[in-house]
Amino acid sequence: MTIAVTEPRVEDKLYQNRYLVDAGRPHIKVRPHVTPSANLLALTRVCPAKCYEENDKGQVEITADGCMECGTCRVLCEASGEIEWNYPRGGFGVLFKFG
């Protein structure tokens, strides 16, 4: 037997958090590609904020507003050049109340 959980809505979880979004200056960018690598595709499941999504052409896109700056995508995809990762400008991004 496994524990039954319906796929949780990450938006509901992120809704609890505080952010100061640096509008128009995303701190992570995905390089345009035809087919994503296995790691890039995995990010659609592995990113804890579900920032990565596969579009209907099978390419992976990012919306970094809910990003918690954990660095997982950097560890998986920066070396291959598929993504560009920087910290948000000072003061912007996630603001943990408790951590």
Binding site: M1, Q16, N17, V46, M68, C70, V75, L76, V94, F98
Partner: protein
């Protein structure tokens, strides 16, 4: 632009950065500390158990005003399968001592308190400032930093990189490698609020007593991972983490694992009725001794999580961060007191002092553990927990089966699942890695 030159610049106001800045500033050094968050702690995540001894060595009277949640009187280790847990509990009234040894804390609050101490010791602390680059002279020596706030270089004799596990600066300057997917875990965590009395009742606690649970088993779905549940005064911190390489290979979602843990029949009653106020994610260094990078160079040292100084077996990180920050601060102060330059040769003192501390000794002791658990994750995190649960259930159910047959059935189940040779070799390798 900041025209002054500093004795030291500390990048980051987490555990290691605060320890380093405090140590140097309280010895009269001119210290600048830069933190990208709005306030210290706003980017930081921890379980969080804080070990008193290591903080006492920096701020002896911290108990007077530090934001401490509960002191721990009970620790539970759970091996979980999908419906049960087999466990070991240790509770002792001896932990109710005048100066308790372990506390739960809430990092955002703790880091703000620590930062106030750093400022009081005389350091200049600038938040909302992301360091964008290390500045070098023509010989390659680090001579300062550039930030996203000031135009030019801010100069210092030495730069302490306390930038955490995902530190961009040291890796981009090629002072160390970027963490690999198999040497870092991704952990997700939630804060569940409940009235203090409810927490006291559910865990049998009184006053400031606290209880923590560490759990492993099928909850990580065969990946190398651990879950935790810690009591704070009016909240419960709980979370789960697994190696990034495992997450990627299995295409698992951390929030699904987290919700499975929360819905486990052993966990659900403990958090029933709680209000969730935050969801956080962070990496944890898991590479151990073999992943420790070069720790010093001309004009720089690296401390804490950025240097992979984390004991994943014992779930210790903040204490290694604080201690490495303190030791770096002391080493730098010694070099400065001798009026020697902050060269690679002179800063090697930091490594020598660190090698003689519990940090490197502990990490060395478990040097083979990360690889062992990683290559055998299916067995250690899935097969064995299931077998343990079956064995316990077989032992406890009274159903008329002779005890001797029950024992045989248990042994047979272990051998079927893992083969006699597999069991022996797992046991031997685990014993050696633990030794």
């Amino acid at each position: 632009m900041i025209e002054e030159k500093f004795d030291a610049i500390v990048i980051g106001a987490g555990m290691s950065g605060n320890a380093a800045a405090y140590t140097m500033a309280s010895r009269g050094m001119k210290v600048l500390q830069l933190e990208r968050g709005e306030y210290p702690g706003s980017k930081n995540v921890q379980g969080a158990i804080m070990y008193a001894d290591m903080l006492e060595k920096i701020i002896p009277d911290f108990r007077d005003d530090a934001p401490l949640e509960r002191h721990l009187v009970e620790q539970r280790f759970w091996m979980m399968d999908d419906t049960s847990h087999t466990g070991m509990h240790y509770r002792s009234d001896d932990f109710n001592e005048a100066k308790p040894n372990r506390y739960t804390i809430i990092r955002a609050q703790f880091d703000k308190w620590f930062s106030r101490k750093v400022r009081a010791a005389g350091a200049t602390v600038l938040c909302e400032t992301t360091v964008t680059e290390l500045a070098h002279d023509t010989s390659g020596k680090v001579i300062g930093v550039r930030t996203d706030r000031t135009g030019g270089v801010i100069f210092a004799d030495v730069v302490v990189l306390a930038e955490g596990v995902n530190g961009l600066l040291g890796t981009r300057a090629e002072l160390r490698e970027m963490p690999k997917p198999e040497t870092v875990a991704l952990a997700v965590k939630e804060m569940h609020f409940l009235p203090e009395e409810v927490i006291d009742q559910r865990f049998g606690l009184k006053g400031d007593e606290g209880c923590v649970i560490e759990a492993a088993g099928t909850i990580s779905r065969g990946m190398t991972g651990l879950a935790f549940l810690y009591t704070n005064k009016e909240s419960i911190s709980l979370g789960i983490g697994c190696l990034v390489s495992d997450f990627a290979a299995k295409m698992e979602s951390p929030y699904v694992l987290l919700d499975m843990f929360k819905n486990h029949p052993s966990v659900r009653p403990l958090i029933k009725g709680s209000e969730v106020k935050e969801y956080a994610a962070h990496l944890i260094p898991e590479g151990g001794y073999k992943a420790i990078p070069q720790l010093f160079g001309d004009g720089w040292v690296v401390v804490g999580d950025a240097a992979q100084l984390n004991n994943a077996v014992h779930r210790e990180g903040s204490n290694l961060a604080m201690t490495s920050g303190r030791i770096a601060g002391e080493a730098i102060f010694q070099v400065k007191s001798r009026r020697d330059p902050m060269t690679r040769e002179n800063l090697a003192l930091y490594k020598t002092m660190l090698d003689n501390s519990f940090i490197v000794k502990d990490l060395k002791k478990y040097k083979d553990m990360p690889a062992l658990l990683h290559t055998n994750s299916q067995h250690f995190f899935k097969t064995y927990p299931q077998l343990m649960s079956q064995a316990a259930q077989n032992f406890m159910r009274v159903d008329g089966t002779p005890k001797i047959d029950k024992e045989k059935a248990t042994t047979a189940a272990f051998i079927r699942a893992r083969s006699r040779w597999g069991l022996v070799s797992d046991a031997v390798r685990l014993a050696f890695a633990w030794r």
